[in-house]
Amino acid sequence: MELLILKTNINNKRQVKTVAPLLNRQARIARWNIDLHDVDKILRIEAAELHADTVVQLITEAGFFCEELHD
C-alpha cells in the first residue's frame, strides 16, 4: 500500500461529493480523505500501485486544482 499526498482546492463538502464517485470508482484506491480544515485541502490516498498523475488528471478534469506534494 502506498500513500499519495496531494494539494487541492476542494473547499467544502459539496465539492467533496463531486469528486467522491470518481475516487470511489478507482479499484486501486483503498482509502481516501480530504482535509477541509487545512489550507492546502490535502487529498490523502492509500492505494496500491496508483500513479499520482492519474489522480491529478482525474481531479483536474472534474474542474479542481490538484498537485502532488513530495516529502
Binding site: M1, E2, L3, I5, K7, N33, I34, D35, H37, D38, V39, D40, I42, R44, L69, H70, D71
Partner: protein
C-alpha cells in the same frame, strides 16, 4: 510503505503543542507546523489522516502521559489524606514540568473537539479517581458532596497555585514562587475542609 521515524514524530508533536498554545486552534495549520518542525506537509499526512486526526492524537498522547504521571505511586485504596497528597504532588510536578501540554489540554476542553476527546479517554484513570473517592466516603474520610464541589475543593486550589507560579506573580502582580511549604500548607487546609 514509508517507515515511521520516531524522532520526526516527537518533533512534530512538540511543535504542534507549542503552536496551538501560542496561536490557538485557528492559527494552527499543517503547513505552518510542517515548516516549524522541519518536515514537508506531505510527511505530516504520512502520520496523520488530517488536521483533526493530528490534534486528537496529540490529545490522546498528552492525556495518557498526564494520567500516568498522576497515578504514579497512587493506589485508590489509600487513605484519603495520603491519596490526595500523592495526587497533589504528582499533578503539580507534571504541570510544572509540562506547562504547555496542560495548557493545550485545557484549550481542547474548551473547543468543539471536546466531546470526541472525552470519548477517547481511557477508563482506567477515571475509574481510579472514582474508586478512590467512593472508598474515602465509605471509610468516612471524605464528606459526601457532589462531584463538582469535590473537585473544586480538592484540586482547583493546587492548579491555581501552579498557575500563579508559572505566571511568576499572583494577585495584583505580587511576585510568587510555589514552594513545598506553601503546597503542603494548602493541602492541609483542603483536607481539613473535606474531612467529615
Amino acid at each position: 510503505m514509508r517507515t515511521r521515524d520516531d524522532n520526526k514524530i516527537q518533533a512534530i508533536r512538540a511543535h504542534a503543542v507549542e503552536m496551538i498554545v501560542k496561536q490557538g486552534f485557528d492559527g494552527f495549520s499543517m503547513q505552518k507546523l510542517a515548516k516549524a518542525a522541519g518536515v514537508s506537509p506531505a510527511t505530516l499526512y504520512i502520520y496523520y489522516k488530517d488536521r483533526e486526526d493530528l490534534i486528537m492524537q496529540l490529545w490522546a498522547a498528552s492525556f495518557s502521559a498526564m494520567a500516568t504521571a498522576t497515578l504514579k505511586n497512587f493506589d485508590p485504596s489509600m487513605s484519603f489524606s495520603e491519596g490526595l497528597r500523592v495526587q497533589w504532588l504528582n499533578r503539580a510536578k507534571y504541570c510544572l514540568k509540562y506547562p504547555q501540554e496542560m495548557q493545550f489540554m485545557e484549550q481542547l476542553r474548551h473547543s468543539p473537539l471536546q466531546e470526541k476527546a472525552l470519548e477517547m479517554v481511557d477508563g482506567g484513570f477515571k475509574n481510579a479517581m472514582y474508586t478512590f473517592v467512593n472508598n474515602a466516603i465509605k471509610k468516612n474520610e471524605l464528606v459526601k458532596v457532589q462531584l463538582e464541589v469535590y473537585w473544586s475543593i480538592a484540586f482547583a486550589p493546587m492548579y491555581n497555585l501552579v498557575k500563579f507560579h508559572l505566571e511568576g506573580q499572583s494577585i495584583g502582580g505580587k511576585k510568587f514562587t510555589l514552594t513545598d511549604k506553601v503546597l503542603h500548607e494548602t493541602l492541609a487546609l483542603v483536607i481539613k475542609a473535606l474531612t467529615p
